[in-house]
């Protein structure tokens, strides 16, 4: 019964979050983005107190249900582990807690958050790991299927589906996603929740909270016959049959053991009072840990001759920017890279091909912007609406057009009027804020060919000029990021 409830809610969450990541139309974000915001680490990063309190309180009542119902990476492991269990039954056994390892990993993790080493944080965070798997491995397949449907729709004169560009956003992010999937998948297949109970920092924190939960699975020694079925089916390897104890810091409240016990010797209930004293020490440990988490959260607050045909178009190459570009709503580079957990939800949502995982080592897996495929369109606020970690704060359309995220820089050596003597001015015409004006290239000759001048104060860094510049592969005008975003 309890197990079925768990499976039902877990399915809903897994499906919802996966859909949230897969959907590129932006239609589902409105209904599903709360699922990303309900994730523990993003909530801590965005100092979302309500979510933190709800998650902590529910853990204090029910145990680590977060890990088995809300965390997509946890549910994914359960699914893999379940299939593994079909092949080989009764395959788990009790193992001792690797407490030192857990605490050291957690400690390093907290230090990294405080220091703002985003890429390392992104690598370990469970929800983000799942996001990357979907973004880099599953979404391409989803888009490919969509594009087939779009072909079909086009053939039937329907506008129900439209084609989306399928492109490799970052090779490093893809490799990380594949390695994560293989490693965690293998562990889940063989050993169940090993990752959650040794590495996962969220699992460690919630594990120590769960020790004090009101409801827990408890072994009734008068009924137990020491058959060990419960332990052999515990994916968290936390049931010690010999001593009739359960390590609640590792139990993820999956309720599998309840059904497995033929004697009904395990029940999910309030713990008896006699045990309370023994865990007082642990309570103190836990409180100090919570303190660390709280401080972390606060700290991170050619000439034509014939007719027809198409001129070939060279792809734009990716420009190396001295200061990276991050979306409007990020407030500053520092804020963005400190809070971003690298889940890449914003990347899957960007309809303009602007966001992609960074390849820089310091913020590997965290997103960065570039304009060779499209520019940051004035009407779009998708990334800011979905970001669960507060790295990109929600903004409105009106705000968007006045937030300065970068400045356009003109490259005289490449500009078409000067190199080819051709009238252009596309950057000026397409600038949504009118920050680029065309002036005569020779100040003494009113009729000389016009070149662009950028009003850097007015420029918001949207990249329309860079993207629409006819010069290829490197645009004659490009956008440099700024450290701190500001309202124009």
């Amino acid at each position: 019964m309890l197990r079925n409830f768990r499976r039902l809610f877990a399915s809903i969450f897994l499906l919802g979050i996966t859909l949230l990541f897969l959907d590129f139309s932006g239609l589902l974000s409105h209904y599903l983005s709360w699922m990303a915001k309900a994730q523990f680490l993003p909530a801590v990063m965005s100092a979302n107190l309500i979510v933190i309190v709800v998650l902590i309180v529910s853990t204090l009542i029910l145990g680590r249900v977060y890990c088995s119902v809300i965390c997509p990476l946890g549910i994914m492991q359960d699914v893999i582990s379940h299939i593994g269990g079909r092949v080989k039954k009764n395959r788990f056994r009790f193992s001792k807690e690797k407490r030192i390892l857990r605490l050291v990993v957690l400690g390093i993790f907290v230090v990294m958050i405080i220091c703002g080493i985003g890429s390392a944080v992104a690598l370990l965070a469970p929800y983000s790991a799942y996001g990357r798997i979907v973004t880099n491995i599953v979404q391409p397949a989803y888009i490919a299927i969509n594009n087939l449907l779009a072909d079909w729709a086009e053939a039937n004169n329907s506008y129900a589906f439209y084609k989306v560009d399928l492109w490799l956003k970052s090779i490093s992010a893809l490799i990380v996603a594949i390695v994560t999937l293989l490693a965690i998948g293998f562990l889940a297949w063989k050993h169940g929740r090993t990752y959650c109970n040794t590495i996962c920092p969220v699992g460690t924190v919630l594990g120590y909270v769960a020790k004090f939960s009101i409801l827990k699975p408890i072994i009734d020694t008068s009924k137990c016959v020491n058959c060990g079925l419960c332990s052999k089916n515990c994916k968290a390897s936390c049931i010690n049959v010999k001593e009739h104890t359960i390590d609640y810091s590792r139990c993820v409240s999956c309720f599998n053991c309840l059904g497995k016990c033929n004697k009904h010797a395990i029940s999910y209930q309030r713990i008896s009072k006699t045990k309370v004293e023994t865990i007082n020490q642990e309570k103190r440990n836990f409180l100090s840990m919570l303190g660390i988490m709280a401080t972390t959260a606060a700290a991170s607050a050619q000439e034509k001759t014939v007719d027809g045909g198409l001129a070939p178009i060279v792809d734009k190459s990716i420009i190396k920017r001295d200061t990276p570009l991050v979306p409007a709503g990020s407030q500053s580079l520092r804020n963005f890279y400190q809070k971003c957990t690298g889940c890449q939800l914003c990347i899957t949502k960007c309809p303009n091909g602007v966001l992609r995982p960074s390849s820089e080592l310091t913020n590997l897996l965290q997103p960065v912007m570039s304009y060779e495929r499209g520019f940051c369109r004035p009407e779009c606020t998708e990334c800011s609406q979905v970001c669960p970690a507060g790295a990109i704060r929600p903004i409105t359309r009106v705000e968007k057009s006045s937030i300065k995220i970068g400045t356009a820089v003109w490259n005289k050596e490449l500009c078409l009027p000067l190199t080819d003597g051709v009238e252009c001015g596309n950057c000026s015409r397409k600038c949504p804020v009118g920050a680029i004006r065309m002036v005569p290239s020779d100040k003494d000759d009113e009729k000389s060919i016009a070149i662009p001048i950028v009003d850097s104060e007015r420029c918001i860094g949207c990249g329309a000029c860079e993207n629409l510049c006819p010069v290829r592969p490197i645009s004659a005008i490009h956008v440099e990021g700024i450290e701190v975003h500001r309202f124009n």
Binding site: E303, T305, G308, L310, E379, L416, E423, K430, P470
Partner: protein, 453 residues
């Protein structure tokens, strides 16, 4: 179905197919628009100078069908052969091509298809298309002229045209034909019999047209090719104030007894795709006739017209046009008035008068100009042009417009990439202000994307 019956049915089908083939030709029914129509004799007109009997339907070889081969669009020669065979079989004998058409491959494809027929069965028209200043030299122009013979596999050309005089004004005309002595060269070729009729096609600057006609006593033009249709007859200036009405052009030719060859009778297909209410009105008058047939009958109704060119890409267009001209049923006074009203109503819509002639292409910056215009016009005709977000079907129409745009034109070839270099301006025979229209369309698209209307 058992095997015997199956074989029987195959035999019946093939018999039926053979039967159809034998029945084709004059005096037999032809299916157009799903309607059977009794075919009569093709209407012919006679050239005053050489006495050629020219079919009133002329085949424009600017829009041959293409297929994808190794990721490139190439002319579908088999389809061209089929179309040419069918056309000749049904009395079409005038084929109009140019070294510039179909990315330079039209002459060759036309030559291959025609070579399969006796030389006296068809009349070839081609042009000296030395538009680019690189080709203005005497040597380059003569080379282009000789190359036409080679590509078309002929030793004489029935109708030779100076191509698109008036485009680029007097300067281009002098550069292409006078300063290099090419016009004198062509006159000599006519004397020698390698050119049977010499004429010119005209777009653009009226000064050049007037000049050439004023020198008719000297050059004796055998024919002139002009753009004529029920919009351009009186409303050519709606596209560009400097354009000239077909009425003037036609009357100037008639005065001098020079036969007119008609191009763009259908405005690149635009007069076949009218907005719904205009289509309905024409259908009410002649329910069995296609919308395109009105435009062809209109052009054919002028007695001084030698032939009406149509760039027929598909067999059904060819069949429909053959039906229209076999024989021609000239427009009545009432029908002419209806077409004039149609033209006036058409001009109320903001569609762009592009005929998809591809003269502007390739755009050096990769823009697909004709496809952008075609999409825009299609949305106007299909009423998918939301003008206000309060429109009842705004959401659907917006989606149809934007999704359809991305489907039709790859992102990198869309209007927002037009830099306004104006290199296309000189090439457009309709004198559409292409950069300005691109900007207008892009502004509209931005309005839609940003929900600003």
């Amino acid at each position: 179905m058992d095997r015997r019956n199956f074989l029987k049915s195959i035999a019946m089908t093939s018999l039926a197919a053979v039967g159809c083939k034998e029945n084709n030709g004059a005096g037999s029914p032809i299916v157009t628009n799903g309607n059977k129509k009794e075919l009569g004799e093709m209407t012919y007109r006679t050239t005053p100078n050489t006495g050629d009997k020219v079919s009133l339907l002329g085949y424009g070889c600017m829009r041959w069908p293409t297929i994808q081969q190794n990721g490139k669009k190439v002319i579908d020669q088999e389809a061209v052969n089929r179309l040419v065979d069918y056309a000749i079989e049904h009395g079409v004998n005038y084929f109009d091509t140019s070294p510039a058409y179909c990315e330079g491959f039209s002459e060759r494809a036309t030559g291959i298809a025609l070579k399969r027929h006796p030389r006296n069965k068809y009349l070839i028209a081609t042009k000296l298309s030395n538009f680019s200043p690189d080709q203005w030299s005497r040597e380059a122009s003569i080379k282009m002229y000789h190359n036409s013979f080679k590509e078309l596999q002929v030793d004489y050309i029935d109708y030779m045209l100076l191509h698109g005089i008036g485009m680029g004004g007097m300067n281009a005309y002098n550069g292409r034909y006078i300063d290099n002595g090419i016009l004198d060269f062509l006159l000599k070729e006519r004397e020698a019999g390698r050119i049977r009729n010499l004429g010119f096609s005209y777009h653009g600057d009226i000064e050049v047209f007037d000049l050439l006609l004023s020198q008719n006593d000297k050059y004796h033009w055998d024919f002139v090719q002009i753009q004529l249709n029920y919009v351009d007859w009186l409303h050519a200036k709606a596209t560009n104030k400097r354009n000239t009405n077909a009425e003037y052009l036609y009357n100037e030719l008639t005065k001098r007894n020079i036969p007119a060859v008609i191009m763009e009778p259908l405005l690149g297909g635009r007069l076949a795709q009218l907005v719904t209410f205009l289509q309905e009105r024409l259908k009410q008058h002649r329910p069995d006739d296609s919308i395109a047939s009105w435009a062809f009958r209109y052009a054919g109704s002028f007695p001084n017209v030698l032939t009406v060119l149509s760039g027929m890409t598909y067999m059904e267009h060819l069949q429909d046009n053959i039906a229209t001209f076999s024989p021609l049923d000239p427009c009545t006074e009432e029908e002419l008035a209806l077409l004039e009203q149609t033209a006036l109503d058409m001009l109320k819509f903001p569609s762009i008068p592009c005929t998809n002639c591809q003269y502007c292409m390739p755009c050096p910056y990769g823009i697909n100009i004709p496809e952008i215009f075609a999409h825009y016009n299609k949305c106007i005709n299909e009423d998918n042009m939301p003008t206000s977000s309060r429109d009842e079907k705004y959401v659907e129409a917006r989606r149809a417009f934007l999704v359809g745009y991305d489907r039709r034109v790859p992102k990198l070839r869309q209007a927002d990439h037009c830099i306004g270099c104006k290199q296309c301006l000189y090439h457009c025979p309709q004198r559409i202000d292409i950069p300005k229209q691109m900007e207008r369309i892009n502004n509209y698209i931005e309005d839609l994307k940003q929900n600003r209307i």
